[in-house]
Subunit: 113 residues, 2 copies
C-alpha cells in the first residue's frame, strides 16, 4: 500500500528482549541483550546506521518464543533464530550489508509461542 514510498529505514531490525517466568521459553535468558548490542555495534562499525540504512531496536515479546532467541528484519519480514555472536555478524554482513538472507538462521515458520 506504500509502493511509491521507500521505507524510512532500508532494514529495521527488532530483537525480542522479553523475559518470562522461570520454566517458560523466552528470549532474554538466551543472550538477547548481548546480541542486540553486538548487532548495533556491528551496524555502526559498517557505516550502515541511520535513515535510508539500518536501525536496530529492542522490542517486547513478539510471540514466537519457541523459536527464540529471535529477531525480525522489516520491511522484508525475515525472522531469525540466532545462537551466538557469529550468527549476528553473519546477519549484519550478509543480510543488512549485502541484502542476502541468511537461510540457515531462518526461524521455522511453524514456531510461535
Amino acid at each position: 500500500m506504500t509502493d511509491s514510498a521507500p521505507s524510512y529505514y532500508k532494514h529495521h531490525v527488532f530483537f525480542c528482549l522479553n523475559e518470562r517466568d522461570k520454566g517458560e521459553a523466552s528470549c532474554a535468558p538466551h543472550g538477547a541483550r548481548a546480541a542486540l548490542d553486538r548487532c548495533k555495534a556491528k551496524v555502526k562499525e559498517a557505516g550502515l546506521a541511520g535513515p535510508g540504512g539500518v536501525r536496530v531496536n529492542q522490542a517486547g515479546c513478539m510471540n514466537r518464543c519457541q523459536g527464540g532467541p529471535i529477531a525480525v528484519v522489516y520491511p522484508e519480514a525475515v525472522w531469525y533464530t540466532y545462537v551466538d555472536e557469529s550468527d549476528i555478524d553473519e546477519i549484519v554482513e550478509s543480510h543488512l550489508k549485502n541484502g542476502r538472507v541468511v537461510q540457515r538462521l531462518l526461524t521455522p515458520l511453524h514456531l510461535g509461542r
Copy 2:
C-alpha cells in the same frame, strides 16, 4: 527478497516507549504506554490478533523523536504520529482492520531525531 512468503504477521505494529532526559523530545511522556495498551486492546477486541493477523509491540527509541509519539506498521513501513485515543482507534479500524492507511496521521518524512 521474500516475495514468495507471506509475512508472519499481516501487520506488525511497534510503539516507541522511550523516555529521554528532561527537555529532550521522546515518546513516553506523550502517552505512549496508554496508546500501546489501547491499540492492543482494540486489536484483540476486533479479533485481529495473532499469526496471519496483527501483533502490537513495544519498542525502544526508533530515532524519529521529533515526530513523536510515533508508531510504525510493518511490513508496509507506515509511520504514524498519534495524539489521542481516537487516533489509535482510527489506525486500528482503518489500517489494521481494513488496510487503508490513515493519511492525516502520517509522520512527516523529514522528521527524525
